[in-house]
Subunit: 246 residues, 2 copies
DNA sequence: TCATGTTGTGCGCTATCCGCACATTGTTAT
DNA sequence: ATAACAATGTGCGGATAGCGCACAACATGA
């Protein structure tokens, strides 16, 4: 374990959650590092071209995108999904996304945005807790059951809204239902005013390789409409993708 | 300067250029680090969830995408460009991209792929040398002239193909032409079999904030066709975007 | 079987990073 | 104006962590 490297990555990561421009002291506060250490990390980032300094705040440069590209180039999945995502989003006039599991979170690996529906900025690389996101539940339901339970145990289940399921029992029965019905609808559990529906993306051999969803404002569609109008479109895309994915 | 952090970032970066799965010795060779150092970096990455190890090779995980997201969330530009890019790509049935300058390279900040045209995988985060890419020349032409020359001096101008312009004189006159005509066509200078045309993207105030291009196979369109058929579409998109960008 | 390449591990040395402290600057509030 | 506060830049002593080498073990293939 290289401590300096880990600290530097922590600094890099803390620019994510809503903090785009940060001062040295701000970074120190967010990461818990000593201010001098945070400063050394930021100077290193700037020297290497990953961050810029305007005399007051540090901000990341486009160079960090090359790190993400290193991952995107390593797997063909996002590239395969994107055109289908675009077509689906155009058809239903709502933003669609694909994600995979990474620890207890889901990570967006492809997205086609139609309009801004959530308060936070979602995009490729965004992370959400799996237990309360529609795609997360689809991916958990596809796992081995006790493996999924182990993952839930490691999750910190915060009630993000009054409707959020947090108890393990409730989540387990919900996962069982998702597993049985083949899709998941989450109704204002992640954010008030937001509903979403997700389906698994399977490979030719039937293995679940990702999840596909769309999120709408509650005023736009009821849960019933989600099921009768949007879900069939998602399942159609699911069917189109399956034969193309190894 | 934190040396350990810099070494770790070098390890992270070396997964980019065509090397998706790397062994410890491979990383050591690519980065020039000692094998033990490379090993320490990789173990750190794995411990933090940025890399996975299958007993033989290391590969990056989706977590590195969150680093790229930190940048994407900090600037509205990519999100603004994407729908126009999608529309344009659909209309001309060719892949389109937007990029900005980062040092002597251009970095793709948005892309809409229609088919695979180049041998290497291009996508958000990809880097190309500015001097020989159509978008790069557009961005260089938009700079202060001596600033652009300084940037060219710092570039290592390798003749990637027999057609590549490398001498400073040739590049300067080419930049002057691009500046004058408002677009740039590059004909097999980056890769044999590939032609591309690029235009600058301006903000409302006229400042050049990015470049937009499309690349086609030489069999698909002649230079004249690029100018008469594709260029007008690019300019149309350019005009649509200008009033929307601060 | 030998050669090659890779991994894991241990170890001594030294450079490096840590965390504190002090001086300075800029901003805000009284 | 002045005081209070927050943030920055810098220096320093000391401990620690990383460096690079070397050796042993293992796999692969000629």
């Amino acid at each position: 374990m290289m401590g300096g490297f880990a600290k530097g990555l922590a600094v890099l990561s803390c620019f994510g959650q809503g903090h785009e421009r940060l001062t040295i002291a701000g970074v120190a506060k967010l990461t818990g590092l000593d201010r001098a250490t945070a400063r050394r990390c930021l100077i290193t980032l700037e020297r290497l071209g990953f961050a810029s300094f305007d005399g007051r705040c540090y901000a990341l440069t486009a160079r960090v995108l090359s790190l993400g590209h290193a991952y995107l180039a390593s797997t063909p999945l996002p590239e395969q999904l994107q055109p289908f995502l675009d077509r689906l989003a155009g058809a239903i006039q709502e933003s669609c996304s694909c994600s995979i599991l990474d620890g207890t979170d889901i990570v967006y690996i492809a997205r086609s945005a139609q309009r801004r529906v959530m308060s936070i900025s979602l995009g490729v690389g965004s992370r959400l807790p799996a237990y309360c996101a529609s795609m997360g539940r689809v991916l958990l339901a596809a796992m081995d059951e006790d493996e999924a339970c182990g993952l839930l145990d490691r999750s910190t289940c915060t009630p993000l809204t009054p409707k959020t399921l947090v108890t393990r029992d409730a989540l387990r029965t919900e996962l069982a239902r998702v597993r049985h019905q083949g899709y998941c609808i989450v109704d204002e559990e992640l954010e008030i005013g937001l509903r979403s529906v997700a389906v698994p993306i399977r490979s030719r051999s039937g293995r679940v390789v990702a999840a596909l969803n769309t999120g709408v404002q509650t005023s736009r569609a009821s849960v019933a409409q989600l099921r009768t109008e949007l879900l069939p479109k998602l399942l159609e895309t699911q069917g189109q993708l399956a034969p193309l994915i190894v």
